[in-house]
């Protein structure tokens, strides 16, 4: 961990993500207004000291909405990736450890899932379900586990023949001990890196869904639906589009920097 934070990429990514987390957690304290309070006397005000990022078409304070929207983005990113990583580790471990026909079945299933364009699959599924933040997290998670599965499988295959794993087998270790004590701990680095990178893409997918109206539903704020609200006024209220767009950009950039930095820092070959 110390090595990871001495890497400038990882450190800058970490600082960005940590500050967004602090802002999101402290939203109820920092936010100057109720994010859902409509004020008809303050419609489409440009940024000022009172309304740092202006107000939207219903007179809601954009800065407050941005803060609460950050909670959605971070939560969706983390939970969705958590689900995907959990599925990926379980399937990848089974596939790489037991090999044989189980491996063939799991890998062909991965191929099938990869052949479907994920975003449209998510759109189709959400269209049938009620669009709620929980459904979004679950659906994103259930459609993005394939990369982790392949990676865990590859790690297991290469570690399985290593001498320390054979040594544990010679000692009389059962499958569970080999998997959880020897194989999994030594595959964690790439899993962590790909999870961090995965959060970035999950944040993007959530923003995209919310922008299309299939994500987080009004009046609850999310960066994606603030953008949607802003698109009607884009000619004379630039702040409604700029700030959520920037927020998404910075968050995704932060996660990518952190992920890339961790990859460099934790890779023993470099």
């Amino acid at each position: 961990m110390k090595r990871a934070l001495s890497n400038p990429l990882a450190l800058s990514g970490f600082i960005i993500i940590a500050s967004i987390f602090v802002l999101a957690l402290a939203a109820p304290i920092i936010a100057p207004f109720d994010p859902e309070a409509i004020d008809v006397k303050a419609i489409l005000l440009s940024p000022s000291m009172q309304h740092l990022m202006g107000t939207d078409g219903l007179g809601r304070d954009v800065f407050s909405r941005m803060l609460f929207g950050a909670r959605i983005s971070l939560l969706v990113g983390i939970v969705a990736v958590g689900i995907a990583t959990a599925i990926g580790i379980v399937l990848g471990a089974i596939s790489g450890y037991y090999r044989g026909w189980v491996d063939v079945v799991i890998m062909r299933f991965v191929d099938v899932m990869l052949s479907i364009p994920t975003f449209f699959l998510i759109l189709a599924v959400i269209a049938f379900l009620t669009p709620s933040i929980w459904n979004i997290m679950i659906v994103i998670g259930l459609t993005s586990w394939m990369g982790v599965t392949r990676m865990v499988r590859a790690e297991f295959l290469s570690l399985r023949g290593r001498e320390f794993v054979l040594a544990a087998e010679t000692l009389g270790a059962k499958d569970a001990r080999l998997i959880f004590k020897h194989l999994l701990p030594n595959s964690l680095t790439p899993i962590i890196v790909s999870s961090v990178l995965g959060v970035a893409s999950a944040v993007l997918v959530e923003s995209g869904l919310s922008f299309l109206g299939l994500g987080v539903q009004a009046p609850q704020a999310s960066w994606g639906n603030i953008l949607t609200d802003g698109k009607e006024y884009i000619q004379f209220a630039w702040w409604l589009s700029l700030f959520p767009g920037l927020a998404i950009l910075i968050t995704v950039l932060g996660y990518n920097l952190l992920g890339e930095g961790l990859r460099d820092a934790l890779d023993p070959r470099t």
């Binding site: 290593r162 054979l166 040594a167 544990a168 010679t170 009389g172 270790a173 001990r177 030594n186």
Partner: protein, 269 residues
């Protein structure tokens, strides 16, 4: 028969290798071709041969780390190849292995104490305190200290790591230890220390060694009997002194002549 603690009869093991332009044609490569060996209790049997002669495959097949195509492995009168997975795990306690590469044979994410104590934990030998005492005792025997238990493998040198590997195998008080080129990855000065340690431990713990090596100087140092392997077959076997003095096979003569510093003595020119 009872004099042999470990014996193997007619072991066969082959790999399927894809060949041809698109890998459509396959070729069988025989790693073990009707190999039979006998290890006397308390003795050291060396298996020598060049790279690819099937030595390591033999070691792994004997310990049932790789499945055999056919053949029987008798350990204390039981055929290991037909034991159930659970029975085999029980027997593993008595059959340990020391590996070639000291940098690959220790789990980099476990502390030394956990690495050496893992076998005791798996076989539930004694309570936590007794296990710890055994680990400390074993570490001291291989010239490491109690404080080393809290360290990770990367903090040690190759020779020290090999000692840790020896401690891990011997803490279970096994009867047979398969040493797969245990010194070939080490500096020559360290090799001698490790060989000496193995010899001492053999005396103290009444161990039988199956010692795999390509280095005939090392073999002469430690082994009583020797088996020469070439392309998966046993080409010659017998007492070390006999084979060195009087090799009957051309291949064995080549191996002996390949010992550095011996060529000149053999053909003075």
């Amino acid at each position: 028969m009872s004099a042999y603690i470990l014996s193997a009869q007619h072991l066969n093991k082959s790999y399927i290798q894809r060949s041809g332009r698109f890998g459509f044609t396959t070729k069988q490569v025989k790693a073990l071709d009707d190999v039979s060996i006998q290890l006397r209790a308390g003795a050291t049997l060396a298996v020598v041969g060049e790279s690819g002669s099937g030595k390591s495959t033999l070691a792994r097949c004997l310990l049932q780390l790789q499945p055999l195509n056919s053949g029987a492995v008798q350990f204390q009168g039981r055929d290991l190849a037909v034991l159930s997975a659970a029975e085999l795990r029980q027997q593993r306690r008595h059959l340990q292995m020391i590996f070639q590469d000291p940098f690959a044979s220790l789990n980099p994410r476990m502390k030394i104490g956990a690495i050496v104590g893992e076998g005791l934990l798996i076989h539930k030998l004694g309570n936590a305190l007794e296990q710890r005492q055994k680990v400390v005792q074993m570490l001291k025997r291989v010239c490491l200290s109690e404080a080393d238990m809290e360290k990770y493998p990367h903090e040690f040198s190759g020779g020290q790591r090999q000692r840790i590997g020896i401690a891990r195998a011997l803490v279970l008080e096994p009867k047979v230890v398969v040493c797969d080129e245990p010194v070939s990855a080490l500096d020559v000065s360290i090799q001698a220390q490790i060989l000496l340690l193995l010899k001492e431990l053999q005396q103290e713990m009444a161990l039988s060694y199956l010692f795999i090596s390509h280095d005939l100087r090392v073999v002469r140092h430690i082994a009583d009997e020797v088996v020469v392997m070439h392309q998966g077959k046993v080409v010659e076997q017998g007492l070390v002194a006999d084979i060195y003095a009087n090799p009957t096979q051309a291949y064995t003569r080549n191996l002996i002549n390949a010992i550095p510093g011996r060529q000149r003595a053999a053909n003075p020119s």
